[in-house]
């Protein structure tokens, strides 16, 4: 597969989606998906960090000595995460409070280092930037999907707005972490099912 914008987009959103195909970034996907707002801010933060760390690391790729490349990757990623953290604290203090330690934990998100290792190391800066950005979007879309279902069933709200007009018993399990395990598993199951069916069709032809 080539590296045109379109294939990079398709690959990160579906074919190699970080969460449901590569099973990366599960930690935060379990932690922040009981509220859509938290998932959105987390996703946007991750998009920014993956995009710019991929851009920077790709621009430096000719100069980074191989034996210390992971140290450099971590350093660059950490720098961007701290910038995001400072920015949110200065401009969105309420959300910073709600997310607590999770913004800092973007550093440990495997997706960012995964993109740096798998893509930015071997490709030019601009396409690496978009690869990082699309990986972040792929992550955000899945998180929002999971969060939407968990928030509706668990709290009876969407983006914090009550949907009281439909009366039902709230599913406490959706609020606690096991709910996230079930939801992620169902998402992976569906994605694998569709993908396998496509492969079979291709083989039949």
């Amino acid at each position: 597969m080539g590296n045109s914008l379109k294939t990079v987009f398709y690959r990160n959103l579906w074919g190699e989606n970080p969460v449901i195909r590569q099973i990366l970034g599960i930690c935060s996907a379990l932690a922040v998906t009981n509220r859509t707002v938290n998932s959105l801010v987390m996703g946007v933060g991750l998009m920014f960090v993956t995009a710019f760390s991929s851009l920077t690391l790709s621009a430096l790729r000719e100069h980074i000595p191989d034996r210390i490349r992971m140290i450099v990757q971590t350093l660059v990623i950490a720098a961007y995460v701290i910038i995001v953290d400072i920015f949110i604290k200065a401009n969105l203090p309420e959300i910073s409070k709600a997310l607590g330690p999770y913004v800092g934990l973007i550093i440990t998100n495997c997706i960012i280092m995964g993109r740096a290792e798998a893509f930015a190391r071997k490709n030019p800066p601009v396409i690496s930037f978009f690869d990082g950005l699309f990986a972040g979007i792929g992550y955000t879309v899945i998180l929002l999907g999971i969060a939407l279902i968990r928030e509706i069933l668990g709290f009876g709200t969407i983006f914090g707005f009550s949907i009281n007009f439909i009366d039902f018993t709230k599913w406490t399990i959706m609020v606690v972490p096991p709910g996230a395990f079930f939801m992620i598993a169902i998402f992976i199951w569906i994605a694998s099912g569709i993908q396998n069916r496509r492969l079979k069709k291709k083989e039949a032809k």
Partner: protein
């Protein structure tokens, strides 16, 4: 690519210096703003715990609240929206993941809790982090402190579903506050 040791050392040094410089610059640019945010949030928390509604927390705080030092205990006092004289006292205690800080307001007779507000907590977002939600904080308004606080129908205080440890930590912090800080204040006040 394969590079010599010297190049490696120089490279990592340069990269470290450049990125540290960038971070220091960003930090310096936003420092005063973040500090102001924290201070304003602190003032808003004091007002909230007292039961004073304010659109412009800083202005209302400066106008109505006075700071006092009673025998080494720093507290804020003001007349709240119900016309009651209240004390707002900072508290601190351990939650599930880290230190929880905030303000607890009591009436002048030190017999009723008038409200609670949190300024710092690192509880799980969406679970323990829900102690920040209105319904949770509001239920402590007007609770008598003649006996230790407990959750349940009798006391009218609900814990947070899925966040038992954080919920219990809050009650422990509050009971501890009643047993120690308020006792000290009572003694100091009597002098």
């Amino acid at each position: 690519m394969k590079k010599g040791y010297l190049y490696t050392i120089v490279f990592i040094a340069v990269v470290s210096i450049v990125f540290s410089g960038v971070l220091a610059a960003v930090n310096a640019a936003y420092k005063s703003r973040i500090e102001r945010n924290v201070l304003n949030a602190e003032k808003a928390s004091v007002l909230y715990s007292m039961g004073i509604e304010a659109d412009d927390a800083v202005a209302v705080f400066n106008e109505r609240v006075t700071q006092k030092d009673i025998e080494g205990i720093y507290l804020y006092s003001a007349v709240n929206d119900e016309g009651v004289m209240v004390y707002s006292i900072p508290f601190e205690g351990s939650g599930l993941w880290g230190t929880i800080r905030g303000y607890i307001s009591v009436d002048q007779g030190l017999s009723t809790i008038k409200g609670i507000a949190f300024t710092e907590q690192n509880e799980t977002p969406g679970l323990g982090g829900r102690i920040e939600e209105e319904w949770y904080k509001e239920q402590f308004r007007g609770i008598g402190i003649d006996k230790p606080l407990v959750y349940g129908e009798d006391s009218g205080i609900d814990a947070i579903t899925g966040a038992t440890s954080t919920s219990n930590a809050i009650l422990q912090i509050m009971n501890n506050f009643i047993d120690t800080t308020l006792k000290e204040l009572e003694e100091a006040d009597g002098k």
